[in-house]
Symmetry: C2
Subunit: 121 residues, 2 copies
């Protein structure tokens, strides 16, 4: 039975906005991402997405709702079909829980779009 240390996992890569696959269960994935500054507005049509902040601060903006600001040890769930903009202030380590096939930029294709999710070493 393998285990994952979040501290060791986050120490193992530097790239931002490029989630690493840390585990899979029940068709869902645990992904770890480093974040800096503003990402891109996007939504996931068929997937709710959980953001849990492991370090730093992450603000999530919405088109028609107040921002949510997540500090270390706080999480929020963005419902499917909800356009959102993640902004790290200024940096954050994030644990994501979402379907394995969910793309980081959702319905939007940008330079940040990751098509092949890297597995943690």
């Amino acid at each position: 039975m393998e285990k994952v240390s979040l501290a060791e996992a986050f120490d193992s890569f530097d790239e931002t906005w490029s989630p690493r696959l840390a585990g899979e269960l029940n068709g869902q994935a645990v992904k770890l991402a480093k974040a800096d500054g503003e990402f891109v507005w996007h939504q996931h049509e068929d997937a709710d997405e959980l953001f849990l902040v492991n370090a730093g601060r992450l603000r999530i903006e919405f088109r028609e709702d107040d921002d949510v600001v997540l500090e270390e040890g706080e999480f929020a769930i963005v419902p499917r079909g909800t356009e959102h903009l993640p902004v790290a202030e200024p940096e954050a380590e994030i644990l994501l829980f979402e379907p394995s096939e969910t793309r980081n930029t959702g319905d939007v294709e940008t330079d940040e779009t990751v098509t092949d999710l890297a597995r943690l070493d």
Copy 2:
């Protein structure tokens, strides 16, 4: 958009081995549990189960595999159909990811079995 602080959530109850529902997404649930000492041997026939330790230490025993010992900030995924025994050493705060309908004692009915999952206040 609501957020959940793990620290505040764990401060809001004392009961052990009685998970609180902290969020739901994609048919899966985020559950928070306090643990002390040994739970019961059980398995979940149709559900993989993730254990992430928020505080303390949790050892998980298996019938035919080495124990895994999870410290704060470490997680492991117990595959469906795998008999396991969680043991807090001596206490732990645990975040669980698993299907919403998964019962805490799986295939076993004991005094610890929770049928109505309490939602966080």
